[in-house]
C-alpha cells in the first residue's frame, strides 16, 4: 500500500510535467489545427536554458527554501523568455508562410524544425548527458510503514504546486482576458475573427509563445526532477505529452492537464509493477488505444470533418 502511494506521488509529479507540455500541443492544435512537432524540442531547449542559468547562479544543493525558490523563479523566467523567443521564431519562419498551403506542408516543416533543433542542440551542446545535482533537497516523510517509507520531496511539492498555479493562471487568461477571447474566436473561425478586427497573426504568435513558455517551465521541472538532460529528451516527452493532449481531448485545456496526469500515472505504475524497460511502450500503446476507441478524448468534443 505504501509503495502504491509513493508511486502515486511520483506519477502525479511526472504527470504535471507532461500536462504542462501537453497544453502547448492542445492550444496550437485548437487554434491552427496542426500538431506542432517541434514543441517537444522547445521543451528540451527550455531544459537546457534552465540548466545553463542554474549553473550561472550557482545554487545547487541548498536547503534554504526561500533562496532556492527565489533562484528558481528567476531561472524559470529566463528560460520561459528564451523558449518563448524560440516558439515565436518557429511559428514566424516555419508555419506562418505555409498557412493555407496543402495539408502535409506545415507538418513536414514541423518535423524539419524538430530534427533541426535536436541536432542543433546536439552540435552546440554535445551529445553527452548533462547531470545536475538537486537545487532543493530534502522532503517530508508522510507514512512510515514497516516495510516501506513514503516520502514526498520539496521538489515534488514545488512541481505540483507550481503546475497548479500555472494552470489556474492560465485558465483565467483564456476565460477572462481579451487575449483569451481572441484565441477562442480564432479557434472557432479564423476568417470571421479576422473580419471582426482581431489580429489573427498576433494571436497565433502569442499562443505559440505561451505554449513554449509553459514547455520551458516543464523543461525546468524535468531537469529538477530527473537531474539529467540531453538533447534527445524532447522526443519521447513530446510524444507522451501529445498522447496526454489526445487523451484529454485535443483543444481542451483541463483535458490536457488531466491527460498529462493519467499518462504520468500510467508510466510510473507500469514501471513500478511491470517493467521499467517497457514503460514507454505502455505510454505509446495508450496513444494508439485512445485514438482507436476514443478519438475525441476524455473532455474533448468530437471532431466533425468538413468538406
Amino acid at each position: 500500500m505504501n509503495y502504491f502511494i509513493q508511486q502515486l506521488i511520483n506519477g502525479l509529479t511526472l504527470g504535471s510535467i507532461y500536462g504542462l507540455i501537453a497544453i502547448g500541443y492542445t492550444m496550437v492544435y485548437g487554434i491552427i489545427g496542426m500538431v506542432n512537432f517541434a514543441h517537444g524540442d522547445v521543451f528540451m531547449v527550455g531544459a537546457f536554458v534552465s540548466l545553463i542559468t542554474v549553473i550561472i547562479f550557482g545554487v545547487t544543493g541548498t536547503t534554504n527554501i526561500a533562496l532556492g525558490i527565489g533562484a528558481l523563479i528567476l531561472v524559470a523566467a529566463i528560460s520561459m523568455f528564451i523558449a518563448g523567443v524560440y516558439g515565436w521564431t518557429i511559428e514566424r519562419l516555419a508555419y506562418r508562410p505555409l498557412r493555407g498551403s496543402f495539408r502535409l506542408a506545415p507538418l513536414i516543416t514541423a518535423i524539419g524544425v524538430s530534427i533541426f533543433l535536436q541536432n542543433f542542440v546536439q552540435a552546440t551542446q554535445g551529445a553527452r548527458v548533462k547531470p545536475m545535482s538537486a537545487i532543493i533537497s530534502g522532503g517530508f516523510t508522510i507514512l512510515e510503514g514497516n516495510d516501506f517509507v513514503v516520502r514526498i520531496t520539496y521538489m515534488q511539492i514545488l512541481i505540483i504546486v507550481l503546475t497548479f498555479l500555472l494552470m489556474s493562471g492560465f485558465t483565467y487568461l483564456i476565460s477572462k482576458t481579451s487575449l483569451g477571447r481572441a484565441q477562442r474566436a480564432c479557434e472557432q473561425d479564423m476568417k470571421m475573427a479576422m473580419l471582426l478586427g482581431i489580429d489573427v497573426n498576433t494571436t497565433i504568435s502569442t499562443t505559440f509563445v505561451i505554449g513554449a513558455a509553459l514547455a520551458a517551465v516543464a523543461g525546468l521541472m524535468y531537469l529538477l526532477y530527473y537531474g539529467v538532460i540531453d538533447f534527445y529528451i524532447g522526443f519521447s516527452a513530446g510524444i507522451k505529452a501529445f498522447t496526454a493532449a489526445v487523451l484529454g481531448g485535443v483543444g481542451s485545456l483541463p483535458g490536457a492537464m488531466l491527460g498529462g496526469l493519467v499518462i504520468g500515472l500510467i508510466e510510473v505504475f507500469f514501471a513500478a509493477y511491470f517493467s521499467s524497460e517497457y514503460k514507454d511502450v505502455a505510454a505509446f500503446s495508450m496513444l494508439i488505444i485512445v485514438l482507436i476507441f476514443m478519438p475525441q478524448g476524455l473532455l474533448g468534443r468530437p471532431e466533425i470533418e468538413k468538406v
Partner: protein
C-alpha cells in the same frame, strides 16, 4: 520608380528589421552557440564554456542574411504570399518526357558503375548505400507521396525486414532468397497491423501514431534480449551466396567455380547488383501500380479523402494496401541490409533513420520517383562532403564531428524546401493518369484541395 530608389527609400526600415532579427537571433543562439555546458566527469562537474566569437559570428550571419533576403527575395509589397505550387527551373525534370530519357540513362550508368575505373571498395559501398536509400525512398513514397499518409515510423518495417532475415537465417538456416519474400511478407503484415488502428486518423494524428509505433518496435527490439539480442544485436548472420556459391576462397566458392582469382570485391559487386536489382524491381512495381486502379485510388485519396469516399472508393482497402506495399519494400530493403552488414542492432533503426528517409522523399518531390534518386544521391554525397569539413573542429572544439551536421542540414532543408517549393525539387503532383485533353483545373488549385 527604379530599383535604386526603391532600395534607398526602404534602407532604414530594412536595417531596422535586420537589427531586430539579429536581436532575436542573439537570444536564440545565446544558450546554444554562446554558452556550452560541459561535463568534466563528476556528478556535479558541469561547467560552462563561453563562446562569444561563435555567438557573434552567428548573429552576424543572421544580420547579413536578413539584409540579403530583403534585397533579393522579400516580397516587395510587404505582404507574405501564401506558398503556392510553383513550376519553374526544375519543372523540366518532372516532365514525363525528360524522366523517360534520364531514367534509362541512370540505369545504364548504375549497371556500368562497378566496372568504371574509379570504382574502388569505398565508392561501391557508397553506391550500395545510395541505392538502399533510393529503394527505401521509393517504398515510403507509396505511403507518403502517393497515398498522402504521413508515416514517421517507416524504419520499423525496415527493422522487421532486417530482423526477419537475421532470425530466420540464424535459427532455421534459410537462405537469402528464401528469406527475402518472407521478410517482405512479415513487414507487409506489420504494415497492415499498423494500418488498421490508424485508418480513421487524420494526417497529423497518423504521423504521431506511426512515430509511436516505430518507437515501440525499437524498444521491443532493444529489450527482448532472448529473441533479438537486445542492444548487442544479432551478429554472424550468414551472408548471401551467389546461387549457393559462397564468396570465399574455398574450392567450392564463387571465384573457384568460375575460374576467377579470389577478391573480396566480388562480394561487394554482387551486393551492389543485388540491391540494384531490388531497387529496379521496386521501381517497376511502383510505376505499374501507379497506373492501376489502386494507384489512382491512392492519388485520389491524397487529394481528398471525403470526395474519394463519396465516389465509392474503399478507403480502408486503399490505405491498407498503401501501408502494406510500402512496408513490404521496406522489409526487402531491411533484409538486404542485414545480409550486407551481417549484423543488426536496434541502433540502426531509430527515428533519425525514418526522418532521413522521409527527408529524401520530401526533398525529392513527394511523388517523383526520379526526384528520390537525386535527393538520395545528394544526401549520401552531402554526408561524405561533410566528413571533409574537419576545419569546423577549430570552431566547435575537438569532440565535434562534422557529419553530425547531417541531420541538422536535413531538418533545415526540409523546412526550406516546404517554404520555397512545397512540391519538392522535381515537382510533379499532376495525377499520373489523366484524360487525353486536360481540363483547366490547374495543379495549384488541386494542391489547395479546391480542384
Amino acid at each position: 520608380m527604379s530599383l535604386h530608389d526603391q532600395t534607398s527609400s526602404s534602407f532604414l526600415p530594412m536595417i531596422k528589421r535586420s537589427v531586430i532579427a539579429t536581436i532575436i537571433a542573439f537570444f536564440l543562439f545565446l544558450p546554444t552557440l554562446g554558452i556550452k555546458t560541459s561535463a568534466s566527469g563528476g556528478v556535479d562537474g558541469l561547467f560552462l564554456t563561453y563562446r562569444w566569437l561563435l555567438l557573434a559570428i552567428g548573429c552576424g550571419l543572421i544580420f547579413v542574411g536578413r539584409i540579403v533576403y530583403e534585397l533579393f527575395w522579400a516580397p516587395k509589397d510587404g505582404v507574405q504570399k501564401p506558398a503556392k505550387a510553383q513550376f519553374g527551373l526544375v519543372k523540366a525534370l518532372g516532365s514525363a518526357k525528360v524522366a523517360k530519357t534520364i531514367g534509362p540513362l541512370l540505369l545504364v550508368f548504375a549497371v556500368a558503375f562497378p566496372f568504371l575505373p574509379f570504382s574502388d571498395r569505398y565508392i561501391l559501398d557508397l553506391g550500395i548505400l545510395i541505392i538502399t536509400y533510393v529503394m527505401l525512398g521509393w517504398g515510403l513514397q507509396i505511403v507518403v507521396g502517393l497515398a498522402g499518409l504521413l508515416d514517421l515510423g517507416y524504419v520499423a518495417f525496415y527493422a522487421v525486414g532486417a530482423y526477419s532475415y537475421a532470425l530466420l537465417s540464424i535459427h532455421f538456416g534459410f537462405g537469402f532468397w528464401m528469406c527475402l519474400p518472407l521478410a517482405g511478407l512479415l513487414a507487409a503484415t506489420w504494415g497492415i497491423i499498423l494500418g488498421f488502428p490508424v485508418l480513421r486518423l487524420r494526417g497529423d494524428y497518423l504521423a504521431i501514431v506511426t512515430l509511436a509505433f516505430g518507437e515501440i518496435i525499437r524498444i521491443i527490439l532493444l529489450n527482448w534480449r532472448g529473441f533479438t539480442g537486445g542492444s548487442n544485436g544479432l551478429s554472424s548472420i550468414p551472408r548471401p551466396s551467389f546461387f549457393g556459391l559462397p564468396f570465399n576462397q574455398d574450392p567450392g566458392g564463387f571465384a573457384a567455380t568460375f575460374g576467377l582469382e579470389y577478391s573480396s570485391m566480388q562480394r561487394i559487386v554482387f551486393l551492389y547488383f543485388l540491391i540494384l536489382a531490388l531497387a529496379v524491381f521496386t521501381f517497376f512495381v511502383t510505376a505499374r501500380l501507379r497506373r492501376l486502379p489502386i494507384g489512382r485510388a491512392w492519388e485520389a485519396l491524397r487529394e481528398d479523402e471525403i470526395a474519394c469516399r463519396s465516389l465509392g472508393i474503399n478507403t480502408v482497402n486503399t490505405k491498407l494496401s498503401a501501408f502494406a506495399i510500402g512496408a513490404m519494400f521496406g522489409g526487402f530493403a531491411g533484409s538486404f541490409f542485414a545480409a550486407k552488414q551481417a549484423f543488426v542492432s536496434p541502433e540502426s533503426f531509430n527515428f533519425m533513420e525514418s526522418a532521413t528517409i522521409l527527408a529524401i522523399v520530401v526533398l525529392g518531390g513527394m511523388s517523383s520517383q526520379l526526384g528520390v534518386v537525386f535527393s538520395a544521391i545528394a544526401m549520401v554525397g552531402g554526408v561524405e562532403l561533410l566528413r571533409q569539413l574537419q576545419f569546423l573542429k577549430v570552431i566547435f572544439g575537438n569532440d565535434f564531428d562534422p557529419s553530425q551536421l547531417r541531420l541538422l542540414l536535413f531538418g533545415l532543408a526540409m523546412v526550406l524546401m516546404m517554404l520555397w517549393r512545397p512540391r519538392g525539387l522535381v515537382s510533379t503532383r499532376m495525377p499520373t493518369v489523366f484524360l487525353k485533353d486536360k481540363k483547366t483545373v490547374s495543379a495549384a488549385m488541386i494542391s489547395q484541395g479546391r480542384g
